[in-house]
């Protein structure tokens, strides 16, 4: 009996981050797609993409396929937990056929360039405000600092440069925007790519626009040097709180505390909003190989999801899908409950790539995990892989990676 050709999805353990290598069989040689390679700065996992995973990945390529070659590198969006690994210079040695990026990364696109610049600027301003005015001993501020860090484009530049022009082989760049007709490419014979996001319509672009600078300008003015900070009225209209004589008009301590907390919440909200803007640029696509459908949504947000769930064609594709990468490490806002309850196909496989970070106990969200399992979907978490050989079609390599194996009827044909 001849063995049937198989598609393999390898989920590397990068901690709180994503790194997937998809191997697709072909007549001459297998084709390889790398989807994301990054670890969150706050990840507490044992391995980090840039330090541990890249060497392992390169070793795997060399040993299994005898060449440092990837047919496609897809980076879903420019967050560290998806791209930090590309800052590893070893990638210069890798020959790449095509690079897939969201349209927002196109340096020749004015709208995209504007958005990127704004996002970069906002991150820096937010970080400056945080450093100037807030103590790290508050939970909200600490969380905000971690979120801001993940968005730092400046400290992320090396990774983006690699994706733009660092690989060997002068790869073609495909800047993806939805909606688009299903696409094929010469580097992946027999593979059809269904693009679901990010959209480039005006409403989406408006949503991607990060918070206006003024929205948090006040954060920088909070705290810091109170005495010499900007005052809304001329000198002499106000006095220090301790000296105020009108006892009937004294502020309560609760009110004081509430006002202090307000600024911290504003900071976190601004950081979360920025994070979500960039998540909103995520690539979302389905790979179709010989009837097998594999779904990679990046960290797409509700805007992209909403459009997808309302589109009968996309819905139908997702109902027939065999492998779902779960967005944003299993947090609640990257996988709508309507998708889990109504669309996910039972008997399919799903993967959450995550490491528990103490500060974010709701990632992954228990309820989501439970919801997926209730749908009879086989769910694997990168930080809690099943025991080796315990599940058919899944191969576990200690705590380094998990392989999902899917059989095809025949070799995919171009």
């Amino acid at each position: 009996m001849t063995k049937r050709p198989t598609v393999r999805i390898r989920m590397y353990n990068v901690g709180f981050g994503d790194c997937f290598l998809v191997t697709i069989p072909a007549k001459d040689r297998p084709r390889l797609i790398l989807i994301d390679c990054g670890t969150h700065p706050s990840s507490t996992g044992k391995y980090r993409a840039e330090r541990d995973t890249v060497p392992l990945l390169l070793k795997d390529l060399q040993e299994e396929y005898g060449a440092l070659r990837l047919d496609v590198v897809a980076a879903s969006h420019r967050h560290k937990d998806h791209v930090s690994g590309f800052a590893n210079e070893a990638f210069h040695k890798v020959e790449v056929g095509e690079v897939w990026l969201p349209w927002t990364e196109n340096r020749d696109d004015q709208t995209a360039t504007h958005l990127r610049e704004r996002m970069g600027l906002v991150t820096e301003q937010l970080d400056t405000a945080r450093a100037a005015a807030f103590n790290l001993d508050s939970e909200a501020v600490e969380a905000a600092a971690a979120v801001i860090d993940n968005n730092f484009a400046l400290r992320n530049q090396a990774a983006m440069d690699m994706l733009w022009d660092g690989f060997r082989g002068d790869p073609k760049h495909w800047y993806i925007s939805a909606p688009a007709e299903p696409k094929t490419t010469a580097v992946l014979p027999g593979v059809k790519i269904h693009v679901l996001g990010p959209s480039k319509d005006e409403a989406t672009i408006r949503n991607l626009e990060p918070p206006a600078e003024e929205t948090f300008a006040h954060l920088a003015a909070m705290g810091g040097d109170l005495e010499n900070g900007p005052q809304p009225f001329d000198e002499g209209w106000s006095i220090q709180a301790e000296q105020f004589a009108f006892s009937a008009l004294r502020v309560s301590e609760e009110t004081q505390a509430r006002i202090r907390r307000l600024a911290e919440e504003d900071l976190l909200a601004a950081a979360a909003s920025l994070e979500s803007s960039i998540n909103g640029t995520s690539l979302m696509f389905v790979l179709e190989v010989g009837g097998l459908l594999l779904f990679f949504p990046g960290d797409a947000q509700w805007g992209t999801w909403k459009a997808v769930l309302e589109d009968p064609v996309a819905r139908d594709l997702l109902k027939r899908t065999s492998f779902y990468k779960i967005g944003h490490h299993g947090s609640h806002n990257a996988t709508p409950s309507g998708f889990v309850d109504e669309v996910m196909s039972s008997k399919a496989w799903a993967a959450i790539s995550v490491a528990n970070v103490k500060r974010w106990p709701s990632i992954p969200l228990d309820e989501l995990v439970e919801g997926i399992r209730n749908r009879k979907v086989n769910l694997v978490q990168s930080d809690l892989p099943p025991a080796a050989e315990s599940v058919p079609n899944v191969t576990v390599r200690e705590d380094r990676s998990v392989d999902f194996i899917f059989e095809l009827q025949e070799l995919p044909m171009a």
């Binding site: 939970e139 969380a143 979120v147 918070p211 206006a212 600078e213 003024e214 929205t215 300008a217 006040h218 003015a221 909070m222 109170l226 900007p230 005052q231 809304p232 009225f233 209209w237 106000s238 006095i239 220090q240 709180a241 105020f244 009108f246 009937a248 008009l249 004294r250 502020v251 309560s252 609760e254 009110t255 004081q256 509430r258 006002i259 202090r260 307000l262 600024a263 919440e265 504003d266 976190l268 909200a269 950081a271 979360a272 909003s273 994070e275 979500s276 509700w302 999801w305 947090s331 609640h332 806002n333 709508p336 409950s337 309507g338 500060r359 974010w360 106990p361 709701s362 990632i363 969200l365």
Partner: protein
């Protein structure tokens, strides 16, 4: 000084009035009309107006019986000098001259506008309002630096922020100018309305369906925008400028212009006039609370426009020799004055209509459809004949936006009225299959008690005092009468638990009751007692977390007539199982869970917060500070 003067005067025993000791009814105070950016065609500078508010004893602050302005700046940890409105120079010239540079004027303006809002509510509700525990609502005009202003229920306080206008896109502000949210009439009215609505219906800040938070926002916007029509100068100017057409995108219908401009929006924050044609799918598709609230606001304004057109039709015909076509060029100033006064009257009547309806809502889980039924019922109680066709206009405006009350058979006025029946097959409340009780609700057994409650509001405990008191000081029932009434009302609910949609096995709380009196179109005084009952369902810790901290509550509002008969019952049953009857899904736990999940889907912040936050995320989403922050950002 004063005592001596009283003594000196006492020698004139025949004096009919003593202006030295008798309190004037009203206090006049100057404010910026709308905000410092508001200009009209004939007023190129900032428009200032003088408004009058009920006069009361005020200390420095101003600090009165129900409002206390505290000018503490939390960002700087400083206090600003408080104003004393009773100082002679201020009494003589209607308070301080409007200016952005004197914090004491800011205090005066927040006080004046907040008092105006309070008065509007009291006039409509026919009773005096007190905030929780009889403590004044605290108002912080410069609480913090930031683009926000919000009501904080736990502090019983409204906090206003100030910020620096955009350097690159300040709109009509100077770049980098300080914008004070407390100088916006609309923001003050909006936030104070939140506070009052929270007082009237505390559970309306528990978002158990997509309408709840939107409703809070809508009422706050409605009060803020309709109050624009109480400024005659602005009104006349706008009518002249827009040739009698109020729908034009003008000063009157925009909300918080300066705030909108200051944040780089080059427009008012929101407008009552929706330029798009209303679409029946809007109600299904628009979910963000402020935008969804705007649907309700624009529906109410549609009804107002209809009323206004009807009111001016005759005078326009008179002025145009029967053609009804206004000529080109400026309008005759008498005509403008009449049109303005009709617009003002129409606005006031719609505003009162909306506020009165609040009493006719269930204590929990309101929907826009409930509000329509409440408007129709409460208005018909007072004005059976609907002279200007406002109810019909209101029903139509809701219909074209796809807002239908749940469980009514048609949109005819009769079908929309709340009923005096216990809930029937339309709203089965309980897990066990009890026979539906559809007969009329029995009257309250102890009618004397109701009569004494009424006597207390119509006459007051001290008839002398009641006759002197102004409307705002109408006495409320004494503590003693309240204590006597409570067990009787509670007993009523227990005896009729099923008919009110409650589980008879679980406790039922009387969460509020008060008599109310209003003058109907026939000149008769109409008095009702309105009681609210709430039943809490036990919830496991796990379920509570899944619901983001929401409690499961059933509720019923019962309106008793003077005779003790039941006028209306307005119930909110809650099923633990999903239930569909006659093609309609009944209110159930599953519905609430779905709503929680839909908000989770679109929340980009909750996951970064600490676990304690996640457990109460639904309550936090209703947190006004957070809501209004989102408004600023989107």
């Amino acid at each position: 000084m004063k005592a001596q003067r009283v003594q000196e005067y006492s020698q004139f025993s025949g004096l009919q009035t003593d202006y030295g000791t008798e309190r004037p009814n009203r206090r006049r105070l100057r404010i910026f009309a709308l905000d410092p950016l508001t200009r009209t065609a004939s007023n190129p500078g900032s428009l200032r107006v003088t408004i009058d508010v009920p006069n009361e004893d005020v200390e420095s602050g101003p600090s009165g019986g129900r409002l206390r302005v505290i000018d503490y700046d939390g960002s700087l940890n400083r206090y600003y000098a408080p104003v004393d409105l009773d100082e002679a120079p201020l009494l003589m010239q209607d308070g301080l001259d409007p200016t952005e540079s004197d914090p004491r004027f800011h205090q005066q303006m927040v006080y004046a506008v907040a008092m105006r809002v309070l008065e509007n509510f009291e006039r409509a509700l026919g009773r005096t309002l007190h905030f929780k525990d009889n403590k004044p609502l605290e108002i912080y005009p410069h609480a913090f630096r930031g683009e926000n202003a919000f009501f904080e229920p736990t502090l019983n306080a409204v906090l206003f922020g100030y910020f620096t206008a955009s350097l690159t896109d300040p709109g009509e502000n100077l770049p980098g100018q300080t914008v004070f949210s407390c100088l916006s009439h609309d923001i003050i009215a909006h936030e104070v309305t939140h506070a009052i609505l929270y007082r009237l219906r505390p559970y309306f800040s528990e978002p158990t369906n997509p309408d709840v938070l939107a409703f809070h926002e809508a009422i706050a916007d409605i009060v803020a925008i309709f109050q624009h029509f109480t400024f005659p100068d602005v009104l006349r100017d706008e009518i002249q400028t827009h040739h009698g057409e109020l729908k034009a995108h003008g000063v009157l219908l925009g909300l918080a212009k300066q705030f909108g401009h200051g944040t780089g929006k080059s427009d008012a924050l929101r407008s009552a006039f929706d330029e798009r044609k209303p679409d029946a799918s809007d109600y299904r598709s628009i979910t963000e609370p402020h935008s969804r609230g705007s649907l309700l606001v624009s529906a109410v304004f549609d009804a107002f426009f209809v009323g206004y057109q009807r009111r001016i039709r005759d005078v326009v015909r008179l002025a145009t020799d029967g053609t009804g076509q206004l000529p080109e060029g400026d309008l005759n100033s008498d005509l403008v004055a009449i049109m303005a006064s009709e617009a003002g009257a129409a606005a006031q009547s719609v505003l009162l209509m909306c506020i009165r309806a609040l009493e006719y809502l269930p204590p929990v889980d309101p929907t826009f459809g409930d509000f329509l039924r409440a408007i129709v019922t409460s208005d018909r109680d007072l004005y059976r004949e609907d002279r200007w066709g406002m109810r019909a206009a209101m029903i139509e405006a809701f219909r074209v936006r796809g807002i239908y009350p749940d469980g009514v058979r048609s949109l005819a006025e009769d079908s929309l009225l709340w009923q005096a029946r216990g809930i029937g097959p339309d709203g089965p409340p309980l897990p066990d299959a009890a026979p539906w009780e559809t007969q009329a609700m029995p009257p309250l057994p102890d009618r004397d008690l109701i009569a004494s409650l009424f006597a207390s509001i119509v006459l007051g405990d001290d008839p002398e005092e009641a006759l002197q008191g102004s409307q705002a000081e109408r006495p409320s029932p004494s503590a003693e009468e309240r204590r006597a009434a409570a067990p009787i009302l509670q007993g009523y609910a227990k005896a009729n638990a099923r008919r009110l949609g409650f589980d008879p096995e679980l406790p039922i709380a009387l969460t509020g009751f008060h008599p109310t009196s209003r003058v109907g179109s026939t000149g008769r005084i109409i008095t009702d007692v309105i009681a609210q009952f709430v039943q809490n369902l036990p919830v496991s810790e796990e379920e509570s977390e899944r619901l983001g901290g929401l409690r499961l509550r059933r509720g019923a509002t019962v309106i008793f007539k003077q005779t003790g008969k039941v006028g209306y019952v307005i119930t909110k049953p809650l099923h633990l199982e999903e239930k569909i009857e006659a093609g309609r899904e009944l209110r159930s736990l599953a519905m609430i869970q779905r709503h929680v999940r839909s908000l989770d889907d679109d929340d980009d912040e909750a996951m970064w917060r600490d676990p304690a936050y996640f457990k109460v995320r639904m309550l936090e989403r209703a947190n006004f500070a957070m809501l209004d922050r989102r408004r600023a950002r989107r």
